[in-house]
Amino acid sequence: MTMADPHDMTDPDIALEAFFAAGRAAAPEPSAAFLARVLGEAEAVQADRADPQPQPRQGIWAGLLSALGGWGGASGLATATLAGVWLGFAGVQGSGTLTAFLAAPEEAAITLELIPEFDSFALAALETEG
């Protein structure tokens, strides 16, 4: 058995391989501009990952709401505040029920101490200074 002559161009496989060799030698080369574009995108993706977009700044009320735990937390706080106010009334009236308070005659004098031990004289002094 004889070996095929690698230069025998009448052999279709060898001839075709010669064309492939020419094709490999003439491979399209990337331009510097193309490589720069690819690298630019690589760096941009890398930078985005390293430094994610900051959250938009919240307004003061949105920040406060968030600190209170959202609308749910805020409504709970409001309920607790109103309950405290009512307990203050109830203590003053001594009856212990809201019904008793609401049923009281209109002319009955009601003293509501929102700030116990409040010194109205001290407030007057502050207003004078201001």
Binding site: A15, F19, F20, A22, G23, R24, P28, A42, Q46, R49
Partner: protein, 193 residues
């Protein structure tokens, strides 16, 4: 651009470095892999501008997938060949025809002292024109096997078909190329030994 300074570091390791923010890894991977995507796209599409767009898109997908890359599942180059191939197939479908024959480079006129190079360029141009006339899948298989030098199992993975189907595609492609180029062998100096 500078040479690949990390030639001993595999692509997979460089991709991990890239995902961790290493700027040199971005540069090395670009130099190593972008030419590969561009070569395949140029040979599949026959249009340099479109090939650059496709190669850039394939590389962008690589940058985005880097943090989720699963080590040991696929070679980075195989993955990139597959993404590039799929993007080319999409373009060819949209184009509704095969390779842009009019975009295949015509050989330039002879310049003194460059005869050997010219013959080589003529041969490459003849091959390019013959490749452009092949059906898309045959062209893809022949390019990956004989111009990119990949193995049949690698091509099977890229084209998402069996190895036997790859062998069939390359065999049919080569027969068609031989028929197309047989009339040009003498003209291109191959029959002179």
């Amino acid at each position: 651009m500078a040479l690949d300074l990390r030639s001993d570091v595999p692509d997979e390791a460089l991709l991990v470095l890239y995902a961790n923010g290493d700027p040199e890894a971005a540069r090395t991977l670009t130099l190593r892999l972008a030419p590969l995507a561009l070569r395949l796209a140029a040979r599949m599409l026959g249009d340099r501008t479109e090939a650059e767009d496709v190669a850039q898109e394939a590389m962008l997908r690589l940058w985005r997938v880097a943090p989720d890359w699963r080590q040991g599942e696929a070679k980075v180059s195989t993955w990139l060949y597959r993404v590039t191939s799929n993007l080319c197939t999409d373009r060819l479908r949209r184009r509704g025809r095969s390779v842009a024959l009019d975009a295949v480079a015509e050989p330039e006129d002879g310049r003194p002292g460059a005869v050997a190079g010219l013959i080589e360029a003529d041969r490459a141009a003849a091959l390019e024109a013959a490749l452009a006339a092949l059906p898309d899948r045959q062209r893809q298989a022949v390019v990956l096997r004989h111009l990119e030098g990949l193995t049949n199992p690698e091509i099977a993975e890229i084209m998402e078909i069996g190895v036997e189907a790859v062998e069939s595609l390359t065999a049919r492609g080569k027969r068609a190329l031989t028929a197309a180029l047989s009339g040009r062998r003498e003209e291109l100096g191959y029959d002179n030994g």
